[in-house]
Structures are given as C-alpha cells and as structure tokens.
Amino acid sequence: MTAPVLEVRGLSVSFGGAGRDARGAVEVVHGVDLTVEAGTCVAIVGESGSGKSVTARALLGLAGGGARVRADRLIVAGSDRRDASEREWRRTRGVGVGLVLQDALVSLDPLRSIGREIGDPLRIHRRMSHAAARARAIELLELVGMPHPTITVDRRSGELSGGMRQRALIASALALDPPLLIADEPTTALDVGVQARVLALLDEARSRGTGVLLISHDLAVVSRIADTVIVLDDGVVVEHGPTAEILGAPRHPVTRALIEAVPTEVPRGVRLVVRDRPLDPEAATTASQADSSSPGPDAPRDPAQALPPVPALEGLALLKSFPAGAGTTHAVQDVSFRVDAGRTLGLVGESGSGKTTLARLALGLVVPDAGEVRLGGEPWSPLPERDRRSRRARVGAVYQDAFGSFDPRWSVRRILGDALAAAEREASDAAVTALLDQVHVPADAAPRHPLALSGGQRQRVAIARALAGSPDVLVCDEPVSALDATVQARVLDLFDEIQREHGLAMLFISHDLGVIRHMSDTVAVMRGGRIVEQGDAERVFTAPEQEVTAALIRDSPRLVRGDGSAGFR
C-alpha cells in the first residue's frame, strides 16, 4: 500500500462563539481520526446531524463561515493543510480532492450546461480552453456512463433526471482525476436502479486507484462498497473497523441501532427500533408505550386472520391520463387492486410509474377516466364530490412532505382540531391531546408550530391528522422517504402499531423495497402506469415472476452482514 491519500488526526470543528477564545462555541466534530488509502473506500456512517458532512467539508477547507477547524494532522493531497491559506485550499480543491455534495439535485448550477460545470476545474486549474474542456467533459460523461454524452454535455441540470445529475456531479469531481473522492450521500433520493449504477461508478473509481470517502446514513448502501466503516455519533467516532466486522458484530449501541433500522431483512411486524438504547425522548416514549400497550409487538401476526367479507379499498380497471403538451401521459392504465381491513398493500415502482396518481385516485382527488374506486364495497370515485365529502373521514392520507401539508400559519392544535371538526368530531383540547398521544407526541407540542417540531414528530402529527376521522383506510404516499433511517424506523413502527390497534387497511407507497417488504402483506409493482406484478409480499420478494421486479430487488441495496469480503458484486 502506498501513502494514504488522506490522513486526519484529531479533527475538531466548532461553530459560533466570538473571538479567539471561542467562548460559546459549539463543537460538532470532536477529535475524529480518518485515513483513506488509495484504491480503498472508507465510509462514514451515522445518524442525521452526527457531523458527517461537516467532517467532509472540513477536509476541503469548506467547513463553513465561523467554523473553527483544529487538527493534529490534516494531510490532504500530500501536505498538511492545517494552516493553509485560502489560496492554497483553492489549489487543492478539485485537484487533490473531488467533492460530491450531499444535495445532488441542487448542486449543479441550473443555469449552466453541465459541460461547463464539469469543465470548470479544467479551466480553473489547467487553464484549458473552452473547447478542450468541453471535449474532456464529454469523455468524463462517457466514463460515468451518461447516455448520449455529446448531447447531454450541453444540457442544464434542470433538463436531467436525478440520476443523471448525480453522475454529472461525480464527473465534475473526477475531472482532474483527484487521488481522493469524497461523496456525501451520493445515493439518497435516487431510484434503486440509479442508486445501483451510482454505487458501481464509485466502485469503479476505487478500482482505478482513487481513494473514496463515502458518507451515508444508510448501512445497506455502505455494506455494498466500503472497505472500512467509521461510525460517527454526535461528532465522535464511536466505532471503526473493516466493514464486515462492524456490520457483522456491532459493538456500540449506535451502530446496532443503525443496523436494526434497516428494514430490509426484518420480517413483517417486527419492531425496528432497538429498545436497549433510547435514542431520544421521542423514541423513549414510543418504546415504553408500545411495550405496555401492545401485547406482543415482536410476534408476527397471524397471516391466516379471517378475511373480511368486503375489501376496504378497491380499484377496478382504473385509467387516468393527463394531457402533456401535444400528447398525453398515461399515468395509470388498467390498474386493479384491493386492500382489506387490517392489511397493507405495498406499492413500489420507479419514479414516474404512477404511484402518486394511483394514491390520488384512491383518495378521490382525481376522477378516473375509466374504472372505479370502491370504498368499503360502495362506490367512491363515481360519487359527486358533495356526497364524497361526508365520507372522507373514512379515508386518511399521509404524505411525504408532512411540513408542506400543514397550513404554514397554523399550530399543531389548530391543524388537528380542524381535522377533528372535518370528521364532525368534537375538536376540544382534550381530543387533540388524545390524538397526539396516539402517535406518541408529547401534549406540549399542541400549541407549537410544525416548524418547531423535529421531522419525525411532524410526520407523527400528519399521521395523527389522518387518524382524526377514525378512518378505515389509510393512504400513505412515501410517508417515510424524507426521514433518515433511524427516524424512519420509529415511524414505521408507529404505522404498524396503529394498524394493529385500529384494524386499518393501508395503501402504502414507497420506492424503497426494504420499507415495502417490511410493511406489506401484499405488494404491487408498478411500471409505466401499469401494475406489472401483484401478490403476496413474501412471494413477490422471494420469487418474482417479472424481470422488472427481479431487477428492482437485485438493485436495491441490502445489508450484507457477516460476509468478510465487502465489495460490489
């Protein structure tokens, strides 16, 4: 092995505080050690806010304004950068280190062609002409597997899909072939298929000899590619070692929690949140209440529960298309489904496959062009809105963007009170508190604005609102996609608990196969507006009948434990 491309000892980063003595400063990274050898991949994992991104940015001198970065050793691109001037840093960036930022979708200037964005480092550091930089950009785009590089090079990020943007961003980080590539959450918000391709790309870079520092909160992703894992908690390295070792035999509770939170391998009905380490007060409430109220949360439910005579929610040969410019988009074509009480239908599919449209059809927000949605055996979609309104309490909905679904001027109390009133239930403070209690949100959240709640709490309030009308059916469109793994785990547990308690029928939409597999009794796989495969969850996942489904399953990252040889196979 050659000299490491990155060697950091005792890296600390603090923010705020005034003057040299840094009183009042908050240290968010404490004494982190980090070594990346050429041709290896080191992964930093940890919960949201644990300091992963700050650490990564500190390695390029971009920790942020007012940041105080201290280290015993900070060897980046061959020299110690502890006292590097702004100018020296600039010479390092892009040359010695390539950075792929966390927010891939917005990390490219939407007003410049990606050719220019990729060409920038060449222009800046190599003084390349515009034409030469463009030619090199095309090569780089080819390298990252961008379709039609010669055309795409002149496109701007707004015209590209998320996966394409991520690839362009990686291409720009690789433009000068830096010895170290830092990729901060390069796969979040991507389709499984695209996710797999991006990981393959990083793997390729590594095999070309580039040192890769991968940052992720998703252990499943990490397990596929990293050689070494570093677990960060609250800015402190709590555990580190070879990937297989860490994932196979986690010693620290944080690591364990992270692993448990991955729903992929966890059977239906099993709690995801480890109880031996309350992660925060929110989780503590959940855990203790769940313990006392539900009889056997860990026990898988009896699959042979008697089926109710009528399905709670049913779609019959649904068809919906939208005008799109000159033509039409067939968002939903000939889709039939059914959800029974106490059961969950999981809906997966790549982006744009029609999942949300189907959810909106089910909610009676859009009227199908053909076919019918039935609720509790009665017509639902053919009803005029006026008649539907009185029955709306029977269907609840939870959306991905909980925050956006709250009136920005309203407090939690008002939001829930309004929902109760809509269901013609008494909207007293007590009723609101009871609702909050149901989703394990402390009553003192009631007067607060959703802004003042954590992401998990917000989603809980959204669930509480959906429950206000005591619905029979819950339609959930990507309800956990915006949450990080550990919070996601808690919310998934909550869904489980509530379904059990109320015997709800759930239409559960996600692009994450792990989540779907964990949550669903039956699964429907959508593609291009059609349901390509539908059936019992276990059956679909273990023996997919369609190639589409098989590919989805193949691509979706799975936690690889115990296997000594990490890597992308």
Partner: protein, 284 residues
C-alpha cells in the same frame, strides 16, 4: 466575501433568524412621525401652513422658518407637515385601489378556471401595455386634474402588477400540499378557500402594500409635476415640489424639503416592507 463566508451562506441557509435592524427601527420612528403629522399636524407645525405673507417670501431656512418660506411667504416646514396627510392619503388610496383591482383580477385568474385565467391574463397585459403615465393622462383628461384623479390613475396603473403577483400566490397556494390535505379531510370548497387559500395567498399583500405606498407617492408627485396631480395651494408634497422647481435657481429649499419627504417616505415604506417580508419568510 471570502470563500468561507460563501460556503457558510450555502451551508446554513436562511434558517437563522435575522436580528431587528437599526434601519427598521429608524423607519418605524419615521413612520411614527408621519403618523403624528397626519393625525395631528398641529402638534408639529410652527405656523399656519396656508397663511400668506408676501413680504416674507423666499426666506431661506432659519430658526423661525426651519425649511424657509415659499413664494407666498408660507412656512415650508408647516406646509410639509400639513401635506403629509394628503400625500400619504394619495399613496395609500392609490395602493388600495391598485390592490383592490389586483385582487379582483388576480383572484379571478387564480381561482377561476383555465379560460378565466387566460382572459384575465390578456386583460392584464392590456393594462400593462398602457404605461402608467398613459393611463394617467387618459384618466386625467377624462376627469380633470386633481388628487382624486391622480390617485385613481396611479392606482389603476399599479393594478396589473399586483394582479400578477396575487394570481401567482393563489396558484401556488391552490396546488399546495395543505390545500390538498384539507380537501382530503372533507372540507368544502368555500371553507378551504376562506380558511386556507385566501389567508395564505393574501399574506404577502401587506408587504406589497407597504412597498407600494412609497412608489405611489413618487408617481403621484410626477403627475403633479406635469400639472396633472394635486393642485396648489393644497400642500401636497408633489405639488409643492413641482411648484418649487420653478424657483430652483433662487430658492433650493422649496424643492429639497418636500423632495426629501417623498424620498424618505419611499425608503421607509420599502424598509418596512422588507422587514415584514423577512418576518414572513417570504420574498415579494
């Protein structure tokens, strides 16, 4: 700005609350002053703003006449104070007219169907195609010059701008998650409109109105210059300014002080509008 600062901006975004600025405080103080000048000008005046004293004409600013005297020997300071009510009234009413019409047009476009949206869009474009002064000229030849017509003219010419903004807000709010959530809960159209769409879409109006008042005052003063606005001896700032301009070579104070009031008022309303916008987290 250094790279570090840049990246800091990029990293921490605008989440940090802004402390109240000195500018905002000053602006509030000036508004308070304007308020007193409007409601009880007598408290601030040192002389009768209409009292004529030809022998004391064109006196430069002094201890007895802070802003000097005008061509008829009237106290400019007292006239400026007296003019606050008229000038602000013009500004406020013009903005109110513009907003009311903007609300009507924007509301029809934003809440009506596609056809209505298209039609109102064209109507708006027609209004836009009449630059303010054209509209003002037409209105003023119709009804004669004066503060009322000037107000209407300024109001009408600002309406399409407001309409466009309001329509945009309505469309955004209408397709927002919380409106959909309210429909899913089973609330009726009217209730959703009244409880969610209107309050949220119309929140920026306060900001718009604040920003608009200052500009309306400026526009009204331009009309006064062309002899189309408020008429002397009414102590309206624009009218005073245009009357004073005649004597620019000999009596600078006739132009400087009313002009200063217009500029300060406009700056103040802008500063306050911005502060309001920052508080709402919205950008107009």
């Amino acid at each position: 700005m250094s790279d570090l600062e840049l990246s800091n901006r990029a990293v921490q975004g605008r989440a940090l609350p802004r402390p109240p600025r000195a500018g905002t405080v000053l602006a509030l103080a000036f508004v308070a002053f304007l308020g007193v000048a409007t409601i009880a000008p007598g408290l601030l005046q040192t002389a009768d703003p209409l009292a004529i004293a030809p022998r004391e004409a064109f006196e430069p600013p002094s201890a007895s006449h802070w802003f000097g005297t005008d061509e008829s020997g009237r106290d400019v300071y007292s006239r400026v104070i007296e003019g606050t009510a008229t000038s602000l009234l013009i500004g406020v009413s013009a903005t109110a007219i513009g907003l009311a019409l903007g609300l009507l047009l924007g509301g029809l476009a934003g809440l009506g169907g596609r056809v209505l949206d298209f039609v109102v869009g064209r109507v708006n474009e027609v209004l836009f195609a009449f630059p303010g002064i054209l509209l003002a000229l037409l209105i003023i030849v119709l009804w004669g010059p004066g503060p009322v017509t000037a107000t209407i003219a300024v109001g009408l010419s600002t309406a399409p701008g407001y309409a466009r903004i309001i329509r945009g807000e309505l469309v955004t709010v209408r397709s927002s998650g919380y409106v959909e959530a309210a429909r899913v809960l089973g609330h009726g159209r009217a209730r959703v409109l009244v409880r969610h769409i209107l309050p949220n879409a119309l929140a920026p109006i306060v900001v718009l109105a604040t920003l608009g008042i200052g500009q309306a005052v400026v526009w009204a003063s331009a009309l006064s210059y062309l002899g189309l606005g408020a008429q002397p001896p009414a102590p309206e700032w624009g009218a005073m300014l245009s009357a004073g301009r005649t004597y620019i070579t000999t009596a600078w104070w006739l132009t400087v002080f009313p002009g200063l009031m217009i500029v300060l008022t406009t700056i103040t309303t802008t500063v306050l509008g911005r502060a309001l916008a920052a508080r709402d987290g919205a950008r107009p």
